[in-house]
């Protein structure tokens, strides 16, 4: 057992924290959220220059060859800043997915562009019922002449589809010999694909995609027929722990903001923070944060070492969901009405808590995995 942070990781953390403090203070974050794109192309370029967009991609594609743990730390800082950007869908999900599943030609064509920030990629994970269904997708691919396919079905909550240069989807090929779903890279401008903006709890740009016999070429299949579910399954645990990292970062900020607030604000002639009820509420927040840090770091470390981590990962996401939500609820309570305003940042974090709880598995889902691991 060694809970110390490696030097390399500490450098990533310090650089990232400084970068986001300067480039993405809350005022700037709100400006970015209000733009049409929903991210800052300028900052995106800077992040590309820092080597972040391909942090864990192989150097032969222009990536930085970093570890999962470096990425964990970077994403934690993004969560703390609530950076509005396609980083998660592009660099966390798509980049590693292409590197894992794509053939050399595709990787050589696509990854350097993505890593240089010239092309944003996204992944359409959720079916029309709003559940990740890559094992058995509701999206259908109907083979047509010339080795092409027509995709039909709905995908929900697809981030940054409006600026994506490619959308990864799993679809089931009708009449195929292989049962498994196949991964396609879809051009967003293809005929028969409609992109409907969704107004959600967070202001993050996200869309419903309607595929109505949308055409894709056979050469846009990524990683072989019937292999899509397996590829997704392979990157899923890492993406899950990185979502935890983002949540951890958000929690840190909530605790910081709230503790600062109760020290500052006076009622009854003394700081709120001098009241014991407030002490104990702050204890709960601090405990949520500390425990989340330990349990998510553990899962990330195990995954980065290639060690078995199924149970630890399920523990991490289940705990993270509940702890972030609890922190956010206490944060709101201790802020009083000011935290209920548009102007205050508190709500950005509480909605982030809810949105991230809903991705990569709810607590019940993960506790059920833990129970499976226990054999009960």
């Amino acid at each position: 057992m060694d809970f110390g942070m490696d030097e390399q990781t500490a450098i990533v953390r310090d650089t990232a924290r400084k970068f986001f403090r300067e480039q993405c203070p809350s005022s700037r974050m709100r400006e970015i959220l209000a733009t049409e794109e929903g991210y800052s192309p300028e900052m995106w370029r800077q992040m590309a220059e820092l080597g972040w967009l391909g942090l864990v991609n192989d150097e032969s594609y222009g990536g930085s060859g970093g570890t999962l743990f470096d990425l964990f730390t970077l994403v934690e800082e993004m969560g703390r800043a609530l950076l509005p950007s396609p980083f998660f869908c592009s660099s966390v999900l798509s980049g590693p997915l292409i590197e894992e599943a794509g053939d050399q030609d595709l990787k050589k064509a696509l990854l350097p562009q993505m890593i240089r920030g010239e092309k944003i990629l996204t992944v359409a994970l959720l079916g029309g019922e709003g559940r990740p269904d890559f094992d058995d997708p509701t999206l259908r691919a109907h083979p047509v002449d010339g080795g092409r396919y027509e995709l039909t079905g709905t995908r929900l909550l697809v981030p940054f589809a409006h600026v994506a240069g490619g959308i990864l989807v799993c679809a089931k090929i009708e009449g195929a010999a292989s049962d498994g779903p196949t991964l396609f890279l879809v051009d967003p401008n293809t005929d028969g694909l409609e992109c409907v903006p969704l107004d959600t709890l967070t202001k993050e740009r996200t869309f419903a995609l309607r595929f109505n016999r949308a055409r894709v070429d056979g050469d846009r299949i990524v990683g072989g027929l019937g292999q899509g579910g397996a590829h997704m399954g392979h990157i899923w645990p890492k993406a899950t722990v990185l979502k935890c990292a983002e949540m951890l970062g958000g929690m840190e900020r909530v605790v910081e903001m709230t503790v600062a607030h109760v020290k500052e604000r006076h009622q009854f002639g003394r700081p709120l923070g001098a009241l014991q009820a407030v002490h104990h509420a702050c204890f709960e927040m601090a405990t949520c944060l500390e425990t989340t840090r330990l349990v998510t770091t553990q899962a990330a470390w195990l995954l980065s070492q290639g060690l078995p981590a199924a149970k630890d990962l399920a523990m991490a996401k289940a705990w993270c969901n509940d702890a972030y939500k609890k922190c956010a609820a206490i944060g709101h309570q201790l802020h009083g009405a000011i935290g209920f305003t548009e102007e205050h940042d508190m709500h950005l974090y509480s909605q982030h808590a809810k949105a991230s709880e809903m991705t990569f598995g709810t607590s019940w889902h993960h506790r059920s995995r833990v129970a499976d691991e226990l054999g009960i």
Binding site: C282, V295, W301, L374
Partner: protein, 394 residues
């Protein structure tokens, strides 16, 4: 960074486990849960001593092994897993030794430490802190120790003293500055008291589990030599607070009912799914998985605290958080186990109908003490808020 144990640590764990397995096989002790620390026998403690497992973290010059706290945590985890009977040396090992190493005189170190490490006869300790009117507010103790030539004369009453009836020595906190204007945090001192000293009376108190675990201890002009004073006169409160930082977050705070939780999981594995309603099973799986997560996190908190100490840092707020978290988890375990087992949870040991060997009923009876002894959850929360988060006192 590393979330696994080294090969040497794994080997050490295996060695401890093997030792305990053979002891259990030989019928040396049962693995049932109840008391925080199973009352011990000196013979058992000696077996640990022979292996260098008492005073493991202490410097070699005092008979210790100079090993890291993380390794001690491994040892303790294995001992608590099977509720090994380590009562004879536990307090001396956890509390008395480290406190003496920090604050004790050379004479005290030489006189006590090697004997504790060997589990010699006559070195079982108890802790004489709490009083009828000084529990959480320990600075309010009113027992007095008044200097008289080469001695101190002790008067007053202590209470809730675990195992005082079996102790050779007591670790006492008593007022030494009796001036009423004295700062209450700077007027008490720590002493080591021979429990056979004339003027000391120990009276058992039966606890709600029906056991005489703790006691009242009365001092009536008990005369103790001046060399019993530990550290500085009137610095006792500060010394105790520092000692607690190091000794608060042991795995005993997580594992007092560990066998219960293990049996609960096994019970669910053994239950025929066709005999339980599906909804019940889904519910029980969810609840037990939640406890498993909490246990795993509690364990991380304990190891993290041990590691922090190994880094040479005081784990004040961290240790308080750890203990608060872990003891609350323990209470949820017995509650959940009772909800899963149903009405038979009430049946105590000794009959065939008592579920989980009767460990469940025992844990339900001991449960309220989990979040009290060694500092209540509320007081621990205060420590985290005030000292960890820097919130104002007023």
């Amino acid at each position: 960074m590393r979330f696994t144990f080294t090969e040497a640590q794994e080997a050490f764990r295996a060695e401890v486990r093997e030792f305990l397995r053979s002891e259990i096989e030989a019928g040396t002790f049962s693995t049932q849960c109840g008391d925080l620390i199973q009352p011990g026998s000196r013979e058992f403690s000696q077996k640990l001593a022979e292996r260098g497992w008492i005073g493991m973290t202490w410097p070699r010059e005092y008979g210790g092994q100079g090993r890291p706290y993380v390794e001690k945590a491994i040892l303790m985890e294995e001992l608590f897993r099977v509720q090994a009977p380590i009562g004879y040396h536990f307090l001396a090992d956890r509390q008395v030794g480290p406190a003496l190493i920090h604050f004790g005189s050379e004479w005290q170190k030489e006189h006590f430490l090697p004997r504790i490490v060997r589990a010699d006869e006559g070195v079982a300790f108890c802790l004489l802190f709490s009083e009828p009117n000084a529990g959480s507010d320990l600075a309010g103790v009113t027992a007095t120790a008044v200097r008289d030539g080469d001695d101190y004369i002790v008067n007053g009453q202590k209470v809730w003293t675990s195992a005082a009836h079996a102790a050779d020595y007591g670790w006492l906190l008593a007022k030494t500055d009796l001036d009423s204007s004295a700062n209450r945090y700077e007027s008490a001192s720590e002493f080591i008291v021979d429990m056979k000293t004339p003027g000391i009376t120990v009276r058992p108190i039966v606890n709600m589990a029906g056991q005489s675990h703790f006691n009242e201890v009365f001092f009536e002009n008990a005369r103790i030599p001046a060399k019993s004073l530990v550290g500085e006169e009137n610095a006792g409160f500060k010394q105790i607070m520092a000692q607690m930082d190091y000794e608060r977050a042991g795995l005993e705070r997580l594992m007092q009912n560990y066998p219960l939780f293990e049996q609960l999981k096994q019970h669910l594995r053994d239950t025929d799914p066709s005999e339980t309603p599906e909804a019940f099973r889904a519910w029980a799986r969810d609840q037990v998985a939640q406890l498993e997560i909490e246990y795993g996190i509690g364990r991380l908190l304990c190891y993290h605290t041990a590691w922090t100490i190994d880094q040479g840092k005081a784990p004040t707020a961290q240790a308080a958080m750890c203990k608060a978290f872990c003891t609350q988890y323990e209470q949820r375990v017995n509650d959940m186990a009772s909800q899963i087992l149903g009405p038979v949870c009430q049946i105590r040991r000794g009959v065939a109908w008592s579920p989980l060997r009767g460990d469940l009923a025992e844990s339900l009876l001991w449960g309220p003490s989990y979040t009290l002894q060694g500092g209540s959850v509320e007081v621990l929360k205060n420590i985290v808020a005030l000292r960890g988060l820097g919130l104002p006192r007023k």
